[in-house]
Protein backbone atom coordinates (compact mmCIF):
# COMPACT_ATOMS: atom_id res chain seq x y z
CA UNK A 1 0.00 0.00 0.00
CA UNK A 2 2.77 2.38 1.02
CA UNK A 3 4.66 1.45 -2.09
CA UNK A 4 1.71 2.15 -4.33
CA UNK A 5 1.09 5.49 -2.66
CA UNK A 6 4.70 6.43 -3.03
CA UNK A 7 4.60 5.41 -6.69
CA UNK A 8 1.48 7.48 -7.25
CA UNK A 9 3.18 10.42 -5.60
CA UNK A 10 6.17 9.94 -7.87
CA UNK A 11 4.01 9.82 -10.94
CA UNK A 12 2.18 12.95 -9.75
CA UNK A 13 5.44 14.80 -9.13
CA UNK A 14 6.82 13.64 -12.44
CA UNK A 15 3.76 14.97 -14.23
CA UNK A 16 4.12 18.30 -12.45
CA UNK A 17 7.75 18.47 -13.50
CA UNK A 18 6.89 17.56 -17.08
CA UNK A 19 4.29 20.29 -17.20
CA UNK A 20 6.83 22.76 -15.87
CA UNK A 21 9.38 21.52 -18.36
CA UNK A 22 6.93 21.76 -21.22
CA UNK A 23 5.87 25.23 -20.14
CA UNK A 24 9.41 26.50 -19.82
CA UNK A 25 10.31 24.91 -23.14
CA UNK A 26 7.40 26.58 -24.88
CA UNK A 27 8.43 29.93 -23.36
CA UNK A 28 11.96 29.34 -24.54
CA UNK A 29 10.97 28.46 -28.08
CA UNK A 30 8.48 31.33 -28.20
CA UNK A 31 11.26 33.79 -27.50
CA UNK A 32 13.65 32.38 -30.11
CA UNK A 33 11.19 31.57 -32.87
CA UNK A 34 11.04 35.04 -34.21
CA UNK A 35 13.33 37.84 -35.28
CA UNK A 36 12.50 41.13 -33.64
CA UNK A 37 11.37 43.80 -36.08
CA UNK A 38 12.71 47.34 -35.88
CA UNK A 39 11.81 50.61 -37.60
CA UNK A 40 14.38 53.27 -38.45
CA UNK A 41 12.96 55.45 -35.69
CA UNK A 42 13.34 52.63 -33.16
CA UNK A 43 16.84 51.93 -34.42
CA UNK A 44 17.72 55.59 -33.98
CA UNK A 45 16.28 55.53 -30.48
CA UNK A 46 18.56 52.56 -29.74
CA UNK A 47 21.68 54.14 -31.23
CA UNK A 48 21.86 57.60 -32.75
CA UNK A 49 19.92 59.46 -30.11
CA UNK A 50 21.52 57.80 -27.10
CA UNK A 51 23.92 60.27 -25.58
CA UNK A 52 25.97 57.81 -23.56
CA UNK A 53 29.54 56.54 -23.90
CA UNK A 54 28.70 53.25 -25.62
CA UNK A 55 29.94 52.75 -29.18
CA UNK A 56 27.05 51.44 -31.29
CA UNK A 57 28.02 49.41 -34.35
CA UNK A 58 25.16 48.94 -36.78
CA UNK A 59 25.69 46.49 -39.63
CA UNK A 60 23.20 46.23 -42.48
CA UNK A 61 23.14 42.73 -44.00
CA UNK A 62 20.96 40.13 -45.71
CA UNK A 63 21.05 36.35 -46.05
CA UNK A 64 21.29 36.79 -49.84
CA UNK A 65 24.34 39.05 -49.64
CA UNK A 66 27.55 37.05 -49.97
CA UNK A 67 30.01 39.67 -48.70
CA UNK A 68 27.66 40.36 -45.74
CA UNK A 69 27.64 36.71 -44.70
CA UNK A 70 31.40 36.55 -45.07
CA UNK A 71 31.92 39.39 -42.60
CA UNK A 72 29.32 38.37 -39.98
CA UNK A 73 31.87 36.23 -38.08
CA UNK A 74 34.03 39.36 -37.66
CA UNK A 75 31.23 41.04 -35.74
CA UNK A 76 30.75 37.91 -33.62
CA UNK A 77 34.47 37.81 -32.90
CA UNK A 78 34.60 41.56 -32.18
CA UNK A 79 31.90 41.18 -29.54
CA UNK A 80 34.09 38.56 -27.80
CA UNK A 81 37.41 40.35 -28.28
CA UNK A 82 36.03 43.65 -26.97
CA UNK A 83 33.71 42.21 -24.34
CA UNK A 84 35.28 44.48 -21.72
CA UNK A 85 34.60 47.61 -23.77
CA UNK A 86 31.45 49.66 -23.97
CA UNK A 87 30.22 48.51 -27.33
CA UNK A 88 26.92 47.23 -28.68
CA UNK A 89 26.64 45.52 -32.03
CA UNK A 90 23.31 45.51 -33.86
CA UNK A 91 22.94 43.33 -36.96
CA UNK A 92 20.12 44.83 -39.01
CA UNK A 93 18.78 42.30 -41.48
CA UNK A 94 17.31 43.53 -44.77
CA UNK A 95 15.68 40.32 -46.01
CA UNK A 96 12.02 40.76 -46.86
CA UNK A 97 9.79 40.77 -43.76
CA UNK A 98 7.88 37.84 -45.29
CA UNK A 99 11.06 35.76 -45.17
CA UNK A 100 11.49 35.82 -41.41
CA UNK A 101 11.69 32.01 -41.20
CA UNK A 102 14.69 32.02 -43.53
CA UNK A 103 16.46 34.66 -41.42
CA UNK A 104 15.67 32.80 -38.22
CA UNK A 105 17.04 29.54 -39.61
CA UNK A 106 20.19 31.38 -40.72
CA UNK A 107 20.69 33.05 -37.32
CA UNK A 108 20.32 29.68 -35.58
CA UNK A 109 22.61 27.87 -38.03
CA UNK A 110 25.34 30.49 -37.63
CA UNK A 111 24.60 30.75 -33.91
CA UNK A 112 24.75 34.55 -34.03
CA UNK A 113 25.10 36.01 -30.55
CA UNK A 114 24.89 39.69 -31.47
CA UNK A 115 21.47 41.33 -31.49
CA UNK A 116 19.69 40.65 -34.79
CA UNK A 117 16.75 42.72 -35.97
CA UNK A 118 14.78 42.68 -39.20
CA UNK A 119 14.28 46.17 -40.57
CA UNK A 120 10.64 47.11 -40.91
CA UNK A 121 10.76 50.09 -43.25
CA UNK A 122 8.60 50.44 -46.30
CA UNK A 123 10.15 53.06 -48.54
CA UNK A 124 13.91 52.60 -49.05
CA UNK A 125 14.12 55.90 -50.91
CA UNK A 126 13.27 57.51 -47.59
CA UNK A 127 15.01 55.41 -44.97
CA UNK A 128 18.38 54.97 -46.75
CA UNK A 129 18.86 58.75 -46.53
CA UNK A 130 17.99 58.67 -42.84
CA UNK A 131 21.05 56.46 -42.33
CA UNK A 132 23.39 58.34 -44.68
CA UNK A 133 22.83 60.79 -47.52
CA UNK A 134 25.81 59.37 -49.47
CA UNK A 135 24.63 55.77 -49.27
CA UNK A 136 22.76 54.54 -52.33
CA UNK A 137 21.69 51.20 -50.93
CA UNK A 138 24.36 48.61 -51.72
CA UNK A 139 25.20 46.36 -48.76
CA UNK A 140 27.09 45.52 -46.61
CA UNK A 141 27.28 48.82 -44.78
CA UNK A 142 28.43 49.42 -41.21
CA UNK A 143 27.70 52.59 -39.26
CA UNK A 144 29.28 53.63 -35.96
CA UNK A 145 27.43 55.85 -33.50
CA UNK A 146 28.53 57.36 -30.24
CA UNK A 147 27.18 60.00 -27.88
CA UNK A 148 24.19 60.71 -30.06
CA UNK A 149 26.23 61.15 -33.23
CA UNK A 150 27.17 59.16 -36.31
CA UNK A 151 30.96 59.00 -36.20
CA UNK A 152 31.71 56.66 -39.11
CA UNK A 153 29.93 55.38 -42.20
CA UNK A 154 31.71 52.38 -43.68
CA UNK A 155 30.45 51.36 -47.12
CA UNK A 156 31.24 47.88 -48.40
CA UNK A 157 33.06 44.97 -46.80
CA UNK A 158 34.92 45.40 -43.55
CA UNK A 159 37.82 43.24 -42.41
CA UNK A 160 38.38 41.93 -38.89
CA UNK A 161 41.40 44.23 -38.56
CA UNK A 162 39.47 47.30 -39.72
CA UNK A 163 36.62 46.51 -37.36
CA UNK A 164 38.92 45.90 -34.40
CA UNK A 165 40.86 49.08 -35.08
CA UNK A 166 37.74 51.21 -35.30
CA UNK A 167 36.43 49.70 -32.07
CA UNK A 168 39.74 50.31 -30.27
CA UNK A 169 39.85 53.89 -31.54
CA UNK A 170 36.31 54.87 -30.61
CA UNK A 171 35.33 52.79 -27.59
CA UNK A 172 36.23 52.92 -23.92
Amino acid sequence: MFCTLNKAKHIFMASIYSIFLLLSFSFFTASTDKIEKITIEQLQAKTIRLENDTLYIVNFWATWCGPCIAELPYFEQAAKTHANKKIKILLINLDFISEEAKVLAFVKKKNLQNAVYQLNAADPNKWINQIDADWDGAIPVTVFYKAGKKILFHEGDITQTELDEKIKLHSI
Binding site: A62, W64, C65, G66, P67, L94, F96, I97, S98, A122, D123, P124, N125, I128, N129, D134, W135, D136, G137, A138, I139, P140, G156
Partner: protein
Protein backbone atom coordinates in the same frame (compact mmCIF):
# COMPACT_ATOMS: atom_id res chain seq x y z
CA UNK B 1 60.35 65.93 -48.73
CA UNK B 2 57.58 67.28 -46.50
CA UNK B 3 56.11 69.12 -49.46
CA UNK B 4 56.17 65.93 -51.47
CA UNK B 5 54.30 64.05 -48.75
CA UNK B 6 51.69 66.79 -48.54
CA UNK B 7 51.37 66.73 -52.30
CA UNK B 8 51.00 62.94 -52.38
CA UNK B 9 48.46 63.03 -49.55
CA UNK B 10 46.49 65.69 -51.43
CA UNK B 11 46.69 63.62 -54.60
CA UNK B 12 45.40 60.55 -52.78
CA UNK B 13 42.53 62.51 -51.23
CA UNK B 14 41.70 64.02 -54.61
CA UNK B 15 41.73 60.63 -56.34
CA UNK B 16 39.65 59.03 -53.59
CA UNK B 17 37.03 61.74 -53.76
CA UNK B 18 37.08 61.46 -57.54
CA UNK B 19 36.27 57.74 -57.35
CA UNK B 20 33.49 58.45 -54.87
CA UNK B 21 31.97 61.07 -57.13
CA UNK B 22 32.47 58.92 -60.22
CA UNK B 23 29.53 58.01 -62.39
CA UNK B 24 26.78 60.06 -63.92
CA UNK B 25 24.58 62.67 -62.39
CA UNK B 26 21.22 63.53 -63.90
CA UNK B 27 21.83 65.87 -66.84
CA UNK B 28 25.16 64.30 -67.81
CA UNK B 29 25.79 62.96 -71.31
CA UNK B 30 26.07 59.17 -71.29
CA UNK B 31 28.49 57.22 -73.46
CA UNK B 32 27.32 54.61 -75.93
CA UNK B 33 28.75 51.10 -75.63
CA UNK B 34 29.49 48.02 -77.67
CA UNK B 35 28.65 45.01 -75.51
CA UNK B 36 27.95 41.38 -76.33
CA UNK B 37 24.30 40.40 -76.24
CA UNK B 38 22.94 36.95 -75.34
CA UNK B 39 22.41 36.37 -79.10
CA UNK B 40 26.25 36.57 -79.40
CA UNK B 41 26.01 39.78 -81.41
CA UNK B 42 27.47 43.11 -80.41
CA UNK B 43 24.86 45.63 -79.32
CA UNK B 44 25.19 49.41 -79.32
CA UNK B 45 22.71 52.18 -78.57
CA UNK B 46 23.70 54.04 -81.76
CA UNK B 47 22.30 51.17 -83.84
CA UNK B 48 18.83 51.71 -82.37
CA UNK B 49 17.82 54.42 -84.85
CA UNK B 50 14.13 54.48 -83.94
CA UNK B 51 14.60 54.85 -80.20
CA UNK B 52 13.85 58.15 -78.47
CA UNK B 53 15.78 57.00 -75.47
CA UNK B 54 16.58 53.97 -73.37
CA UNK B 55 15.80 52.36 -70.04
CA UNK B 56 19.26 51.02 -69.16
CA UNK B 57 19.04 48.49 -66.31
CA UNK B 58 22.13 47.10 -64.62
CA UNK B 59 20.94 43.74 -63.39
CA UNK B 60 22.06 40.15 -63.01
CA UNK B 61 20.91 36.58 -62.41
CA UNK B 62 21.96 35.83 -58.86
CA UNK B 63 20.68 38.81 -56.88
CA UNK B 64 17.30 38.24 -55.19
CA UNK B 65 16.46 41.92 -55.61
CA UNK B 66 17.18 41.71 -59.34
CA UNK B 67 15.12 38.51 -59.53
CA UNK B 68 12.21 40.24 -57.75
CA UNK B 69 12.25 42.89 -60.48
CA UNK B 70 12.60 40.60 -63.53
CA UNK B 71 8.88 40.56 -64.36
CA UNK B 72 8.70 44.31 -63.89
CA UNK B 73 11.66 44.82 -66.26
CA UNK B 74 9.93 42.63 -68.86
CA UNK B 75 6.75 44.70 -68.34
CA UNK B 76 8.66 47.98 -68.76
CA UNK B 77 9.95 46.83 -72.15
CA UNK B 78 6.51 45.58 -73.21
CA UNK B 79 5.03 48.97 -72.39
CA UNK B 80 7.76 51.37 -73.50
CA UNK B 81 9.72 49.74 -76.36
CA UNK B 82 6.91 50.51 -78.79
CA UNK B 83 6.80 54.08 -77.49
CA UNK B 84 10.49 54.56 -78.22
CA UNK B 85 12.05 53.71 -74.85
CA UNK B 86 13.25 50.10 -74.98
CA UNK B 87 14.89 48.34 -72.04
CA UNK B 88 18.59 47.53 -72.34
CA UNK B 89 19.75 45.18 -69.57
CA UNK B 90 23.42 44.97 -68.67
CA UNK B 91 25.03 42.43 -66.35
CA UNK B 92 28.18 43.95 -64.82
CA UNK B 93 29.04 41.27 -62.25
CA UNK B 94 32.30 39.36 -62.04
CA UNK B 95 31.20 35.92 -63.26
CA UNK B 96 34.17 34.31 -61.54
CA UNK B 97 32.84 35.43 -58.15
CA UNK B 98 29.25 34.64 -59.14
CA UNK B 99 29.09 31.77 -61.66
CA UNK B 100 25.29 32.24 -61.69
CA UNK B 101 25.99 35.45 -63.56
CA UNK B 102 28.12 33.96 -66.33
CA UNK B 103 27.23 34.30 -70.00
CA UNK B 104 25.77 30.78 -70.34
CA UNK B 105 23.51 31.39 -67.34
CA UNK B 106 22.48 34.78 -68.72
CA UNK B 107 21.28 33.03 -71.87
CA UNK B 108 19.36 30.47 -69.81
CA UNK B 109 17.73 33.12 -67.65
CA UNK B 110 16.74 35.27 -70.62
CA UNK B 111 15.13 32.24 -72.24
CA UNK B 112 13.29 31.02 -69.15
CA UNK B 113 11.96 34.49 -68.33
CA UNK B 114 11.28 35.31 -72.01
CA UNK B 115 13.35 38.49 -72.07
CA UNK B 116 12.24 40.59 -75.04
CA UNK B 117 15.14 43.00 -74.69
CA UNK B 118 18.92 42.77 -75.05
CA UNK B 119 20.74 41.33 -72.05
CA UNK B 120 24.36 42.42 -72.39
CA UNK B 121 27.51 41.40 -70.60
CA UNK B 122 29.81 44.19 -69.37
CA UNK B 123 32.91 42.02 -69.27
CA UNK B 124 35.38 44.78 -68.46
CA UNK B 125 32.91 46.44 -66.03
CA UNK B 126 33.87 49.73 -67.69
CA UNK B 127 30.32 50.71 -68.58
CA UNK B 128 29.02 50.08 -65.06
CA UNK B 129 31.92 52.15 -63.69
CA UNK B 130 31.46 54.95 -66.23
CA UNK B 131 27.72 55.14 -65.55
CA UNK B 132 28.25 54.88 -61.80
CA UNK B 133 26.16 51.77 -61.29
CA UNK B 134 26.81 50.40 -57.81
CA UNK B 135 24.22 47.69 -57.42
CA UNK B 136 21.66 45.50 -59.14
CA UNK B 137 19.10 46.48 -60.17
CA UNK B 138 20.19 50.04 -60.94
CA UNK B 139 18.36 52.01 -63.63
CA UNK B 140 19.53 54.86 -65.87
CA UNK B 141 16.90 56.44 -68.13
CA UNK B 142 18.54 58.11 -71.13
CA UNK B 143 16.97 60.49 -73.64
CA UNK B 144 18.28 61.18 -77.11
CA UNK B 145 18.88 64.87 -77.59
CA UNK B 146 20.38 65.41 -81.05
CA UNK B 147 23.40 63.16 -81.12
CA UNK B 148 23.64 63.06 -77.31
CA UNK B 149 22.25 60.61 -74.79
CA UNK B 150 21.28 62.61 -71.72
CA UNK B 151 20.76 60.98 -68.30
CA UNK B 152 17.27 61.87 -67.09
CA UNK B 153 16.76 59.50 -64.18
CA UNK B 154 18.96 57.33 -61.95
CA UNK B 155 17.77 54.87 -59.35
CA UNK B 156 15.14 52.31 -58.51
CA UNK B 157 12.31 50.91 -60.64
CA UNK B 158 9.72 51.58 -57.94
CA UNK B 159 9.43 51.92 -54.18
CA UNK B 160 8.54 48.34 -53.27
CA UNK B 161 10.94 45.54 -54.16
CA UNK B 162 9.10 42.84 -52.27
CA UNK B 163 5.63 43.41 -53.67
CA UNK B 164 5.08 44.99 -57.09
CA UNK B 165 1.37 45.40 -56.48
CA UNK B 166 2.07 47.41 -53.31
CA UNK B 167 4.40 49.87 -55.05
CA UNK B 168 3.09 53.41 -54.63
CA UNK B 169 5.71 55.20 -56.72
CA UNK B 170 6.70 53.72 -60.08
CA UNK B 171 9.74 55.92 -60.59
CA UNK B 172 10.92 54.66 -63.99
CA UNK B 173 7.42 54.75 -65.47
CA UNK B 174 6.89 58.26 -64.13
CA UNK B 175 10.20 59.39 -65.62
CA UNK B 176 9.56 57.88 -69.06
CA UNK B 177 5.95 59.09 -69.11
CA UNK B 178 7.19 62.61 -68.41
CA UNK B 179 9.80 62.40 -71.18
CA UNK B 180 7.23 61.07 -73.65
CA UNK B 181 4.92 63.95 -72.74
CA UNK B 182 7.74 66.44 -73.24
CA UNK B 183 7.72 67.31 -69.54
CA UNK B 184 10.47 67.55 -66.96
CA UNK B 185 11.03 64.43 -64.87
CA UNK B 186 9.78 65.18 -61.35
CA UNK B 187 11.78 62.62 -59.38
CA UNK B 188 15.18 62.39 -61.04
CA UNK B 189 16.96 60.09 -58.61
CA UNK B 190 15.98 57.57 -55.98
CA UNK B 191 17.64 55.09 -53.67
CA UNK B 192 17.00 51.42 -53.11
CA UNK B 193 18.60 48.41 -51.52
CA UNK B 194 20.32 46.16 -54.00
CA UNK B 195 23.18 43.70 -54.35
CA UNK B 196 26.45 45.57 -54.60
CA UNK B 197 28.12 44.95 -57.97
CA UNK B 198 30.90 42.39 -57.59
CA UNK B 199 33.96 44.16 -58.99
CA UNK B 200 36.87 42.17 -60.40
CA UNK B 201 39.91 42.17 -58.16
Amino acid sequence: MKKLIVFLAAAVIFMTSFTKEGGYQVGDKAVDFKLKNIDDKIFSLADQKDAKGFIVVFTCNHCPYAVKYEDRIVALNAKYAKLGYPVVAINPNDAVAYPDDNFANMKKRAKSKSFTFPYLVDDTQNIAKTYGATKTPHVFVLKKEGSDLVVKYIGAIDDNTEDASAAKEKYVEQAVDALLAGKTVATTSTKAIGCGIKWKQ
